[in-house]
Symmetry: C2
Subunit: 412 residues, 2 copies
Amino acid sequence: MKTSISLEEAQATLLTLVRPVAQGQVPLLAATGRVLGRDIQSGVNLPVFSKSPLDGYALQAKDSEQAKPSQPVTLTVIEEVRAGYVPRNKVMAGTAIKVMTGAPVPEGADEIVKFEDVTREGNSIKLFSPVTPGKNVIRAGEDVIQGETIAPGGMVVTPPLVGLLAAIGVAAVPVFEKVRIAILSTGDELLDPSRDLLPGKIYNSNLHSLGAYCLQLGTAPVDMGIVPDETTAIAARISQALQASDLVITTGGVSVGDYDVVPAALTQLGAELIFWKLDMKPGSPVIAASYNNKLIIGLSGNPAAALITFDLLVVPLIKKMMGLEKQFPLKVSAILTENFNKSSQQRRFLRARVQRDKAMNYVKLTGEQSNGVLKSMIDCNALIDVPAGSGPLLAGQEVSAVVLGHEPGGFL
Amino acid sequence: MKTSISLEEAQATLLTLVRPVAQGQVPLLAATGRVLGRDIQSGVNLPVFSKSPLDGYALQAKDSEQAKPSQPVTLTVIEEVRAGYVPRNKVMAGTAIKVMTGAPVPEGADEIVKFEDVTREGNSIKLFSPVTPGKNVIRAGEDVIQGETIAPGGMVVTPPLVGLLAAIGVAAVPVFEKVRIAILSTGDELLDPSRDLLPGKIYNSNLHSLGAYCLQLGTAPVDMGIVPDETTAIAARISQALQASDLVITTGGVSVGDYDVVPAALTQLGAELIFWKLDMKPGSPVIAASYNNKLIIGLSGNPAAALITFDLLVVPLIKKMMGLEKQFPLKVSAILTENFNKSSQQRRFLRARVQRDKAMNYVKLTGEQSNGVLKSMIDCNALIDVPAGSGPLLAGQEVSAVVLGHEPGGFL
């Protein structure tokens, strides 16, 4: 087992060990936000038939060639067709069919002239100028040609895509199943926030923050609860979690103290340990193991450290399991707008907020950076990546930042 | 009733007519992505008690004042405390209590010294240098002070906020209820995509694309189905929709043709017509009405026009109803990277994709711009706002664009 490896080595190692989950079919609306399982080819032309974009008269353009204001051409209106109905007649020389918006273009007709551009008297219309064939016609296949790929597998199903799928008659959408992510928190000190607080105890936040993050990603969190600091109990709960999920996340018990029991539980379970500890702050105490081709990732019990390692290390794995094509967060350069007075012996990620101002990205810290502090995560939309061996950071300096996905709409 | 008003006048008029919906309480995980109903003040300090950030010994710093490598100070270890438990003893001069990460700082102690920085023999430890009081202590209230506002009403509940709410013991979160949005599509030509296609018919996409958009926004779409082009049937269905929802959206039947029956249905219902038609392309045929303090907005039946007017006109109303503070989309300037050869007599919104390249926004069109064409909505993350009276647009020209919210993560 490797120890104290870089984030990038950890990511690369774990990414080779996960695969997209299985696929299924869901109804159109339920596909919203899900990941498309495969390329979708259209089985039809869209529109299926040529149709009228306006309320008017379908005619043969050549009939209008001689039309002038002083010498109008007269056509006989032989039928009227609304959207949703099929013309019974063909348009032949000297005739026209009244069509409403969306009605099929009748056979024989090659142009639709607007109501406003003709005069109607009884069963006939008068044309006062020539019309261009095909100008006012929505042609079959204008939007999508039969056989055309309308969306690639791995794409998130957006509302317009739901519309396009509906339009080509796809009522059941092939999507990747929801990735099931079991989350369990270890620690004798932990209480669920629904309970009364007791001396020496704290409310567990990790189950909830990570569960919420899983929901936001479009996965299915499986709440495996709180387990006391006992190796056998943790091993048993991890074993249950493996049954119930595609990926197991634990929090707490991964440092090197007397009661850091998750590594011991993984060993007892017979899981293969992959690495222990990342060379970064916060979130250094991470352990990764695999059991029957499923990963178990043990994160720090410190709330901010747990969220940050989840963001940096676990989210790319989850995105691969979800079937998403794009797994890594955006990295940007930004101008730091305040000092950070500590040196960084070890690589360090600082909670921060990036904002664009016209041509430039600016980034400020979002408050206290201690491992346990959650408040500075609230406004955080990015993590400044401070290389090992850096001195204090100065306002005005250019820094590198990883953009996070907590906030709907991203950073704008 | 006004006609052919500007988008901005329509927005301003309708925004005065909607209010945020009622509030309720939901469990922590279910609050993810919902809108916080009110400011949340913490009822506790966070952490609740001062605690140890590491595995070490709690002591009185003044005991260490004389400690040197050549003359270590010896302290007696009188107890051991793990996270989750409460010390039974006080630390007094000459004593220390072994504490594990997360354990409360025992009374009388003002500093924790790391395991690695002392030597232990039997029941005593040796200190080799002075320690600084308070350096290795996580102080009660360091993250959040009792009474502090941790999040403002109107904020979207993000995963870190779920964590912070859990940490302060909030198990039921006050959020705005889900806005219920009834959607119905009118048109004799429409079939649901689950049906077999028939001659002259088309698959209805608007119910599905708008429903998906409602889901993505975090609202509850109410599917009111397809109604034929009959005034009485439409009036009856709108009446049912009003019962079942906070806002009613219809598609189709809002132009000025013989069969544009939605305005007639609204009149028959006794709804107050607010305006008809917007001075823009696409999506000009929009009608807005109110009935018993609920809005009914009739959008074009053209799939792209329906989505675009939903985006520009309806989404800000929905965001106000959701309780969100920020209701309007971002507007950006961008350099057009291709020509658009048509002149625009009327204000026009073009489907486009904005991308940032370092200092600059660039925008390209996403394909065919006809009212009915859905394909160009798929890659669309912005609408170029072309003012009335514009000539053709040229590559290299600066244009204004409204950024849309279809895509998770926004435009990056």
